[in-house]
Symmetry: D2
Subunit: 281 residues, 4 copies
């Protein structure tokens, strides 16, 4: 018997960054969280404690800041591309660099009906994300969205499902449909107008969710996938991970009251979870 290191990676996670762009009468900001991971020839570090091929993760962090200063930082994806190029150029021991990035979405505070020049607000939840995988001569870019919470109070049903002896759920032609959209999509190339496309995908997702005549969350997932692929040629496939956030109509009969789908109990657990990839072929 021998014991062997099979696969391995190392890196720095949650490198946080606020970048301010100062123009004369207007500031712009981006707030990012970056994670970097290296794959490559690191066996001696594991088996012998030999660190000579280990670039410290602290250096990865420094590199994020140095590059964020030197490049315009138009998008998550642009910063990711610069980081990958930098690390692959100067680190022959590295075969693959993965950059994960997420962006907190700030918007301008309206003052007197106009967006303010340098004051911003942001919501906690929704994030724009990207994952870039770079090897020498090959790069893969996935953009994404997380924690985009949506709910509809009509055009949502779930019935005619399979029943077994443990089934107690009843058919429902008028249920609440709610989820927190987590999706990521693969680009056909690295020459994309990343910001424009991201906003287009987001629009396609929420409009499809709102308009769809839903027979299940699976059904709506697929409709959202179709909407994105039909409107964005540069997207090859889209993957979804959608919790089915259940809202149960509360039984008010013990109190002499009816409940015509008006009072619901929102619950976090347990929840359904629907995952699928929809691809253009």
């Amino acid at each position: 018997m021998t014991i062997k290191l099979v696969e391995n990676s190392y890196g720095k996670s949650r490198v946080r960054l606020l970048r301010v762009f100062r123009e004369k009468d207007r500031h712009d900001i981006k707030e990012l969280v970056i994670s970097i991971a290296f794959e490559g020839n690191f066996e001696a570090a594991h088996t012998k404690g030999d660190n000579r091929k280990i670039l410290p993760t602290d250096t990865m962090k420094n590199t994020v800041y140095a590059l964020a200063r030197q490049y315009p930082l138009e998008s998550l994806e642009n910063l990711g591309l610069h980081l990958i190029e930098h690390f692959l150029t100067y680190n022959p021991q590295v075969s693959r660099v993965r950059v994960r990035a997420s962006e907190n979405l700030w918007s301008r505070i309206p003052v007197g009906g106009k967006p303010h020049a340098f004051a911003f607000t942001r919501a906690e939840g929704e994030k724009r994300t990207a994952v870039l995988d770079g090897e020498r001569g090959k790069i893969t870019i996935r953009a994404g969205i997380e924690d985009l919470i949506v709910l509809k109070t009509a055009k949502s049903a779930f019935d005619n499902f399979l029943r077994d002896p443990y089934t107690t759920l009843k058919d429902d032609r008028n249920r609440i449909l709610a989820t927190s959209i987590r999706a990521n999509w693969l680009y056909e190339s690295d020459e994309i107008e990343f910001g424009v496309v991201w906003h287009g995908v987001r629009k396609a997702l929420v409009e499809a969710f709102a308009e769809h005549d839903s027979e299940s969350l699976q059904h709506t997932l697929y409709a959202m996938g179709e909407a994105v692929l039909n409107s964005m040629d540069c997207v090859r496939e889209i993957h979804f991970s959608l919790p089915n956030k259940h809202f149960t109509a509360i039984d008010l009969a013990p109190f002499g009251l009816d409940n015509p789908a008006e009072v619901f109990l929102p619950t976090d657990e347990p929840h359904g979870l629907i995952e699928a990839t929809v691809r253009r072929e």
Copy 2:
């Protein structure tokens, strides 16, 4: 020596609720989390295990749902007033009812440029809150806001402060100012247009934050308090609890780069914390 029960309360926390209002061509929703606490004559339950004066907290929960079905639920505050009246009317053993409520803020999904009739999205963070304290013949209403994150990249300084041997902080005439606004304010009466006033207070807060020439977070806190009290006659006082969310300019000199207030490290801890009440007298 005797051992005595000095003060006590009991209740139900985190009663969650989605209320749907269905009109012909438009649905409205409210998502609330309600907590209820009773004070009163409950000593025998503690000292003797005698539960005859204890209305179960499960019943408090049921009451929230039953009343949410029967009343229009215009606002957190209206539901709170109904709950207090109900509990004080039917429970002579209760001397005081406290209702805490918070509302997740849903907005309509835009489809084709128009707000959708029954599809919604919401951000995680910001919440509208209320705390109502009711005794027989007396009620106190505080409305509030939580997790309203704001940041400005200009008009913020902190200098000329007190120095001691442990002080290393440097004067700064151009720092990032960021906080997560948590505020609650006391109403002069219970006859308030709660929704209209809440939106007015929110507007006063964010506009004051944006416009103020800040010498410190204390200074801006006070300016926000003044703005609210000056614009809303029905508000007697406002209390703030404001974390100073630090953004540190990163030293890029080791990499041969300057950093003219462009690249910052956002941090969650440690953070400053400024608390104060501003009152009209």
Copy 3:
């Protein structure tokens, strides 16, 4: 009308610290989170942006580290006392210093049946806490415990309670009782063996929880309070905030199965909340 600053405080929260004590054949560690708040004469900072009396919160943080280096750090309370003395001595503008502290509880990893000399593990939840309030010539010390989760499967009932038309809960002579103990207690003086007493209080709490014949969580709260006050002369009063973490027996009748109190659904929300202070008089 005039607008006035009514009350105010400022400080630094979540100053984190690991302190290592190195002896020849044994290391000891303490991991703490400290928060400091000042009350005093800070009106000019709020109303005029005059910072001359404001010791920066960054300096508070530095002071924590400098004092943690210079003192043996036997307990949260000792560090708190040093901090209060330091700040009140050098800051005449400050009338009151509040120190909040919490400790992550590390224990030694057992190796070959013996506690290791310098390797440790810790659980996430339970924390030892302290709050010290110091004015010139007067100090108040409260120690505490948080997130101590306990559960019992026997000797727990809730019945003979008050019923109204919204009550659906049934009498239960055999329910699960579970809570997460959050308590703090007031010391009679500042000359306490803080560590010894804290462990004594913790023991009294969990033993009373286990042994008590409970008719309600209120009933058990009081029994725990009595147990602490009876065993610790130096404790004047103890305050509890106890969530009633509900475990509901699942109805298995639809599947042709009984459920003799064997399969339960644990829930986080809604939950009961019982708060009380028990005092020696």
Copy 4:
């Protein structure tokens, strides 16, 4: 162009459960969180809204409770095996069932020096986990551990690493090493004494962590992997995901103090992240 559903699964997540075993003079408990996912022939649900092959996730939840009542529930893994067998037997449309399970670890409260018969306490963090993947005629079982926090104050170094122009980190022969162990390991078969082995793996992990002369977290990861594989024949491979939780020695020189590795700043972000699989071949 055609649009196609490429891969998909659906299921129920976070089904919570407390199971009580009542013997005459002793109760035992297990608290579990179960997630179930199906893969199979579900295309019509996505593309046509045809639910006839969809067993509701609500039924999955009911099945967990019904089976938890009927089987002794010795371990996560045993419950998982029963669930997989049940679902594959009665659902020909399902090709694969994945069960994820995690267990909150309760221990008996000591009273008078003896473990109590029916009163328990638990820490928040550490969890025992399992993931079972079942197809007809083939099953894969991975057990695991999460959030096992460990720290050592000696025998930890990181030096002689690769340097580039962005490297500022200094060699360190005496650093704190801390991580939160997240590991899962693959069993050679499904006939394992799951409880005994799990405790054996845990012991091997923490002892290796404590005893190892560490040149890096990679080095210690590999040592822990070797220790597990050397002591447990039934484990084929083990995968680790280890955050490097940094503790930075605080520079006290500005205050005229030295810091001989005694006062450290614990930080959560950014953090290193080391991932690897160690396998017996």
